[in-house]
Subunit: 151 residues, 2 copies
DNA sequence: TATTGTTATACTCTATAACTATA
DNA sequence: TATAGTTATAGAGTATAACAATA
């Protein structure tokens, strides 16, 4: 009997993943034209508002491990978009910030994010957009999606 | 000026990704107890309904390249959950199907999918669940999310 | 030549764990 | 010992491209 096994499409998780993946990939293609990945953009955007910031704080804010942050920072440093700076008071501490070149790119990348958002959700009524936002935000709160992974 | 650069949280894409990632990771943890990954489960579920099936057809249905299907099938074959069979009429053609062991696992994994779905979306009203489903399904249609990637 | 499938290679994203330097 | 950060390693997921066998 197959009747007792629901289709993949029976789950909200399935539809969520389809749409989310599409939106992310569409955005990835856009920023690839600037030689930047989605995760790199996210870090740059956070740095743009909160600067300079310790890698460990960034890990908390972005919900990633310190190792992942370190590797991501490496890539951005190699592209001269981010700079590391040692703390003068604590020999262990580092801080990250955008280089002038990195900072200059942020508004440009933000425009691509706007473009992507517009293109992906243009077909929704403004009411549906608001509803979708409300439901997703509620889910983030209820599912407690803010915690850094295990260390 | 920072005022002209919207926060990451301004975008529906951001919230979508947060929730979608959480749901997928929660499911990944569940099926990991059965030594199966999310992509492996998806292939097993499709095979359960459509069996036997050619790798190329599976690639179309799952929106993956043939190379990716081949690699995924390799893993499932190594776990004795899927079997390859050569076509008797076309020397190039292969077909994939679940082994009896693989087929027996499907209802079990499906139960984990139900569990995950319930846990992740239990907090939503049934109206919100229906609305979310409608909006996401519409998006899949409007964004034309069905096409296989480039070959 | 075109098609089916596999293999080789590469890259993103992320994790865990070991390690270094400092506190 | 505890903490900050980096590095090493691994693995999922996916892509592109080259390839072998067959049609």
């Amino acid at each position: 009997m197959t009747a007792d096994v629901p289709e993949l499409t029976a789950h909200l998780g399935y539809w969520l993943r389809q749409v989310s993946n599409h939106v992310s990939h569409a955005f990835a293609r856009r920023v690839a034209a600037r030689d930047v990945t989605v995760a790199e953009w996210a870090m740059m955007r956070v740095l743009y508002s909160t600067q300079p910031v310790a890698p460990s704080q960034l890990a908390d804010e972005m919900g990633m491990t310190r190792g992942a942050i370190s590797k991501l920072a490496d890539r951005l440093v190699a592209k001269s978009l981010v700079a590391r700076q040692a703390s003068s008071t604590d020999g262990r501490a580092q801080s990250l910030r955008l280089t002038p070149q990195g900072a200059r790119m942020v508004p440009d990348l933000a425009a691509l994010a706007e473009e992507n958002e517009a293109e992906c959700f243009a077909h929704l009524s403004s009411e549906d957009r608001a509803t979708l936002r409300r439901i997703l935000k509620e889910a983030v709160v209820r599912l407690d999606i803010t915690t850094t992974p295990m260390e």
